[in-house]
Subunit: 327 residues, 2 copies
């Protein structure tokens, strides 16, 4: 059995707890929280909830620790710190800062003789690995990534910070015409506005100026100003009834050409349609825990990414079984 | 530069020759043929075409040999034989016989201290690796593979062997309703007939009995009897004008569930749309040659599959570049 620990107990951690239960070769052995452990009730029976102060006692009892913190402030500190004591996996998703995070984690992991896998999940993660496969196979071509339809938690949070907004759910929606142009092999140059639209369901406080809120949203730099954004005000009841889930998904498409005159179009598309973004992301982390465990046992140390994982190491089945039944 | 040799000079080999030209870190150094080398004219200037008898002279001059023979009779003999002298890659695609082929190649490769990659391409190959990723991530679910729309060369050949048939192009076509049921997360049990239809364009000899040909096709065991097959007779001119290409493609779909009550549907789809099946398959082999070269230099020996290749080894870019720009 691969012994898994979880740090944090938000949506991602709860998804990981459930994903571990779907894998017969793994067991959850402990959850660590910054909150009062007494206040955190987890779904698995007989697994302790502990405080960060207790982690030292668990170094020999956990094979891989899943770090389920946020990328903005938690993981840049947490991953280099925890890798001093454990093999770790995180889902650091701030693309621009990945090289710095990699270096910090790599130094700490090598110093401690551990292995760390950073930026696991679906983007970064499965989408990254599909960009890489497709680019290696079709060197002449273009990559396109479309996200959605799905809830962006960062954008929803940004709207919630506007005065007069009680709640928001922001959906990122790919533009169907743009996707069709890409799939046709046209290799279009697409602006930000041409690729995605944004749709905000907003619960406003009584008496709030809705036009002012709408204007604050659609002109918000970085988040909305470069997009066509629709704002719809709804009741708190409707928000609870219709927008409780966290669906997401998207497509990575590479449109390439082969042939001496580049006469043949070749298109590779990888598409995710997810009812629950955090549960799916957690499922990727949990499959990666198996690979990290095996790589550690083969003597691999330092910071790794999904690019370093041979796919066979993710599978619960033996090498003979996957050759006979999946190849 | 990675020095590549090619064995054979059919459609796949010609695709590989062209794919090598798209990769700046590789060069084609020789083509080996069973035919009279004088009779084979290749597209690349200043690269020799040699007979099988000459291979011994090239052991120190070729890093990876691409074996572009057929799976029925060529590769079962060719791969274990060539791996005695070279690192090799083949596209062995007879799924049921892969374990036996693996064993034969593995024994010969280890004996000769070489590395072999078998069953590369897209199915087996990219489709296999997507079945594996998706199954590891979503342990609760079903895999579905749809092929086409595209030309099946095996089925076209089978029809050509019927008396009175001068030429045939057989298209395998996935049933759209079946694909939609799978994509919706319904997890249907689908019969062979429900998943694909077959469409044959046939050029008949003058005076041939077309009804007899049609009947011979649609009742042919293994190839057509389990499918709804349409036969259309066309002229040799129309065949040449409209069916000269070898398009293909298909989708691997895993439809899984997560959540304590399996309440969330999660769908992963990997889809290929290919103008030229042999050029695309060859492009996969050529990218894999880079990985095989690197794995050999790290001391890896014996028979490998795409499950053993860490994705980063396929990329022409450095580890730092792919972490910064693709993750």
């Amino acid at each position: 059995m691969i012994r898994i620990g979880i740090v944090g107990y938000g949506n991602l951690a709860r998804g990981a707890e459930c994903a571990i239960s779907q894998n017969a070769d793994m067991e959850l052995v402990a959850v660590f929280t910054r909150r009062d452990p007494q206040s955190v009730k987890i779904a698995t029976a007989d697994v302790p909830v502990l405080s960060f102060a207790d982690v030292n006692d668990w170094q020999d009892k956990i094979d891989v620790m899943l770090l389920c913190g946020g990328s903005a402030t938690d993981l840049p500190e947490m991953t280099p710190e925890f890798v001093k004591k454990f093999n770790v996996i995180d889902s650091f998703d701030n693309h621009a800062n990945i090289p710095v995070h990699f270096k910090n984690v790599d130094d700490a992991a090598k110093e401690a003789d551990h292995i760390a896998l950073i930026s696991s999940g679906w983007d970064p993660g499965l989408f990254s690995v599909n960009r890489l496969y497709a680019t290696a196979i079709l060197p002449k071509g273009e990559n396109y990534t479309f996200w959605g339809k799905g809830v962006s938690q960062g954008h929803s949070d940004a709207v919630r910070r506007i005065p007069g907004v009680l709640d928001c759910r922001q959906y990122t929606i790919p533009v169907p015409e743009a996707m069709e142009r890409v799939r046709s092999g046209e290799n279009p140059a697409l602006t930000t506005r041409e690729k995605h639209t944004r749709y905000c369901y907003v619960v406003a406080a009584d008496g709030a100026d809705k036009e002012e809120i709408r204007n604050a949203i659609v002109t918000m730099p970085n988040y909305f100003a470069d997009y066509d954004t629709t704002v719809e005000f709804i009741s708190a009841e409707r928000m609870a009834a219709e927008h409780a889930g966290l669906p997401h998904g998207g497509s990575v498409i590479r449109s390439g050409v082969t042939g001496w005159n580049e006469e043949n179009k070749q298109t590779i598309e990888y598409k995710l349609t997810l009812d629950s973004n955090p549960q799916f992301t957690a499922s990727v982390l949990v499959a990666c825990a198996r690979a990290v465990y095996r790589m550690y046992n083969r003597g691999i140390r330092g910071c790794q990414t999904i690019f370093d994982i041979a796919p066979g190491d993710l599978s619960a089945s033996s090498r003979e079984e996957i050759i006979a039944h999946m190849l």
